[in-house]
């Protein structure tokens, strides 16, 4: 009997089809975009809100992009392109007024025509403190901002409708303001819809985008269908989009390999390695060019990081290539604050940080520690897996030059609060993902005026009046070349003084099924599906 059992178990196992080593399905073979089909998407995160003025998380913003048309968007080269606006903003000669012309052919899903009043309404709604938009403080340069926020005025003085245009006036010149017009928080919404639905607006809004919401079974899935009245004729190609919430990365990847998911954006290092190692998958993968920077933050107010040479020693001790390998190719090494797509980046920056352990030892000697630091430094790491990996990598690299690192694991909420509290955290690994593609959005993180006792914007607590002055000058400089030169100089100062020891820009691969056509990862959009079409019927190959 035992033999029969063993033999049947063997036969069952041997008879099973193997796990597919490439895509399970391929497309029909057409090269002409066609309408139809359902795109299946999934992620571990829950969609928190569909309110464009409030959403800050990647997933909510991705769904909002499908449901709403923003004022401006960015193309793949990060150029601002008009969407609800009909052209790029016109800037007055004093640099204080921005005029945005509004299209007259965009309708809400309910059928109502979108007007410039909707643009003004969304702007003011975002600035209202009760709305709770975290982006509101970025718009402080608008005339009447403070009075409106303090409820001393029912409207923002500096935002007005003028015929089919909206004019925004600033109190001081701000060359980054044009990028603020490209932020998704300014997406126009229908006042009557917000008023009628109240809190429910965040769950079933009336949008203007390529898709409209059919249903949202909270925690399970959102079903979207094509908006036949979308203003870009012929788009979108897809009939439906189903976004499944709360699917862990492991499960999502298994579904993807099984052909039950059409695009996969988050993978574990092992899954990434599996796809990149397969020649069958490689044509259907591309790195997502996220615009961000990751670094070891050193607190310039806590010894030994009060000494610039100790900070420089850390920056020279990091073997960035090794770190990139440890993260299975999801990191592109860097030694400067500004990412490649941002003005002021320079591949040949004079003080660019680099791996040079001997120079690290010399810097330590200059700081008065020829035999290494006498005391270990404490590095805080959150409970996120990649934070623990960065901790271990930093420990190994810094030990080689004479800096012992003790890791202090804490929960993510404690990590978030503590790293922004003055005098608390000596060192941690952190990063910045851009809000808008302007160098000021990165370098302001080291502006000394951003230092606060709690919730500090400047988490390295780095003070340099020279840098502050440069940033002020660059913010109002209207000559693009001069402005770029100012930011390049600021970028170089930061690399030299090393309040952050930069190690990478993220470069996370995304993959899609062979029958998904027109999908192209975007630097500022997580799931860019506007031009996607499905080459159906798909054919099973494995």
């Amino acid at each position: 009997m035992r033999w029969i059992l063993a033999a049947s178990a063997f036969l069952v196992l041997a008879g099973c089809p193997a796990m597919p080593d490439g895509p399970r399905y391929r497309g029909h073979g057409s090269d002409t975009p066609r309408h139809g089909g359902t795109l299946m998407l999934a992620d571990e995160s829950r969609v928190r809100t569909l309110d464009p003025q409030v959403a800050t998380d990647t997933v909510s913003q991705a769904l909002i992009e499908m449901l709403f048309e923003p004022l401006y968007a960015y193309d793949h080269a990060m150029n601002l392109v008009p969407r609800v606006a009909s052209a790029l903003p016109e800037v007055s000669s004093d640099g204080l007024a921005f005029t945005v012309p509004i299209r007259g052919d965009i309708h809400f899903h309910s059928g109502r025509l979108l007007t410039p009043d909707d643009v003004v309404y969304a702007f003011e709604r975002m600035l209202q403190p009760e709305t709770g938009s975290s982006a509101a403080p970025l718009y402080a340069a608008i005339d009447g901002f403070a009075e409106f926020r303090a409820k001393k005025s029912p409207h923002v003085r500096g935002i007005r409708r003028r015929g089919d245009q909206v004019e925004i006036r600033l109190t001081r010149p701000d060359q980054s303001f044009v990028h603020l017009l490209g932020m998704r928080v300014l997406t126009p919404v229908a006042r009557e819809n917000v008023a009628a639905l109240g809190a429910d607006f965040a769950r079933r809004p009336d949008g203007t985008g390529p898709f409209r919401l059919v249903s949202w079974d909270a925690g399970v899935r959102l079903v979207l269908e094509r908006n036949p009245g979308y203003h870009q004729k012929g788009l979108p190609y897809l009939d439906r989009v189903i976004y499944q919430e709360g699917v862990s990365s492991d499960t999502a990847f298994l579904r993807f390999r099984n052909g039950q998911l059409d695009v996969v954006t988050r993978m574990t290092p092992a899954d990434r390695a599996l796809l990149t190692g397969s020649s069958k998958w490689r044509p259907f993968m591309q790195r997502s060019p996220t615009i961000d920077v990751w670094a070891l933050f050193m607190n310039c107010e806590i010894a030994p990081f009060t000494n610039v040479h100790v900070r420089r020693a850390v920056a020279f001790a990091i073997d960035r290539e090794r770190w990139a390998k440890a993260r299975s190719g999801s990191l592109a090494p860097t030694g400067q604050m500004l990412p490649p797509a941002i003005m002021g980046y320079d591949a040949n920056l004079p003080n660019q940080q680099r791996f040079d352990p001997e120079q690290a030892k010399r810097e330590l000697a200059l700081a008065g520690y020829p035999d290494g630091l006498p005391e270990p430094v404490t590095m805080w790491v959150s409970d996120q897996p990649k934070a623990r990996i960065y901790g271990a990598l930093a420990q190994a690299d810094l030990a080689k030059v004479g800096i012992q690192v003790e890791l202090k694991p804490v929960s993510f909420p404690i990590y978030l609060a503590s790293t922004a509290t003055r005098g608390r955290v000596q060192m941690f690994a952190g990063g910045w993902i851009m809000d808008y593609p302007d160098p000021s959005n990165f370098l302001a993180l080291l502006d000394s005026r951003g230092i606060a006792a709690t919730h500090s914007n400047n988490k390295a607590f780095y003070t340099n009046p020279e840098l502050d002055a440069l940033l002020d000058a660059a913010l109002i400089e209207r000559d693009a070349q001069k402005r770029a030169a100012l930011y390049r100089e600021a970028n170089d100062i930061v690399a030299r003084d090393a309040p952050w020891a930069f190690f990478a820009n993220q470069s996370v691969p995304q993959a899609w099924q062979p029958y998904v056509r027109g999908y192209r990862p975007h630097p500022a959009s997580w799931l860019p599906i506007n031009d996607v079409w499905l080459d159906l019927p798909r054919e099973r190959v494995q």
């Binding site: 009997m1 035992r2 059992l5 099973c16 089809p17 193997a18 796990m19 999934a42 829950r46 969609v47 928190r48 809100t49 800050t56 998380d57 403190p129 709770g132 975290s134 403080p137 809190a199 965040a202 769950r203 909270a218 925690g219 399970v220 899935r221 499944q244 919430e245 709360g246 699917v247 862990s248 492991d250 499960t251 298994l254 579904r255 390999r257 099984n258 039950q260 929960s411 993510f412 909420p413 404690i414 978030l416 609060a417 790293t419 922004a420 809000d435 606060a452 709690t454 919730h455």
Partner: protein, 310 residues
């Protein structure tokens, strides 16, 4: 009987209070929900506004009293993360977890009892060995390993089941719940099989079974009426324990299988320090476990007068 019931009920309420109070204190020291909800890009002003809006700026004692009052009045507030009413969230998620747990319990009992009986009857032979092997694997393999193995094998490799998810419509829910329920049930199957096997072997060796056989009763009847019936008392006790395992196991299993129940809600809420949801889930989960233990105790008391009179 009434005294026993009152005593047992009072104990259940005391344990419930103890659990929710301990968790309340714990979650209020692990971090700032305002920062966890609004993210690192939020300004100090926004954080202060959030804290005031949700009463997080009030003293801990005051918040504790408010929390206990909210439990009694069942006004559990709304989620920090998405603003949905906590009672709505629980009302949506609880039936899904109950379905999953119910299926797991059914599988546990069916396969556990079946294997246990088979192992006892076939003592020392292949069925006994198989039951021991399943027992060993079931008890020692962690849920996240068996879950991923089941997914990889039955769903991806063999393509027999969906790769996680919930489906649309009742029968699709049941279909989607099968693999996670099996994963949840593995430990239970192993435990039930072991207990039933042990109890049955003891019963089958006892004098009263020998007497029954001597009186000419058939082996099937002896097994059911005399053997299995006596082996059922520990099974009933274990049902209470099973409920505890199912509730805690749901956290991992629901996450792996993307099953949108209370377990996954717990993972999402704890990660984001969504206190109203976390506290409500702790309350509901403890209440379920307490109710399970209470029912198991009552059942045992009904079956065994010695317990009732103790």
């Amino acid at each position: 009987v009434t005294r026993f019931l009152v005593r047992r009920l009072a104990w259940a309420l005391f344990v419930l209070w103890l659990v929710v109070s301990a968790v309340f204190m714990l979650v209020h020291v692990v971090g700032d929900p305002a920062v966890a909800t609004l993210g690192e890009k939020a300004s100090g002003q926004q954080i202060a506004q959030f804290r005031a809006q949700h009463g997080l700026d009030r003293p801990l004692g005051e918040r504790y009293v408010t929390y206990l009052t909210s439990l009694i009045t069942l006004e559990l507030g709304s989620s920090y993360q998405d603003g949905r009413a906590v009672t709505d969230l629980i009302a949506t998620r609880l039936p899904r977890t109950v379905l999953l747990g119910g299926m797991a319990l059914a599988i546990e009992l069916l396969l556990g009892l079946g294997l246990g009986v088979l192992a006892a009857v076939q003592r020392g032979r292949w069925a006994d060995t198989l039951a021991s092997m399943i027992g060993l694997v079931g008890i020692s393999a962690p849920t996240f390993v068996t879950g991923l193995l089941f997914l990889g094998y039955f769903a991806v490799r063999l393509n027999w089941f969906p790769v996680g998810g919930y489906g649309a419509g009742f029968w699709e829910h049941v279909w989607h719940a099968f693999l996670p329920a099996l994963t949840l049930a593995i430990t239970g199957i192993a435990t039930y099989a072991r207990v039933v096997r042990g109890e049955l072997l003891e019963a089958l060796d006892s004098d009263y079974v020998r007497t029954a056989r001597a009186k000419g009763l058939g082996p099937f009847r002896v097994l059911l009426a005399h053997g299995l019936r006596n082996a059922l008392v520990p099974v009933v006790v274990m049902l209470g324990v099973s409920l505890r395992v199912l509730v805690s196991g749901a956290i991992v299993t629901e996450t792996i299988f993307a099953w949108p129940g209370m377990g996954r809600l717990a993972v999402e809420s704890i990660g984001g320090l969504d206190l109203p949801v976390v506290m409500a889930l702790v309350f509901v989960a403890s209440a379920i476990v307490q109710l399970g233990s209470l029912l198991a105790d009552l059942a045992v008391a009904a079956l065994d007068p010695r317990v009732r009179d103790a």
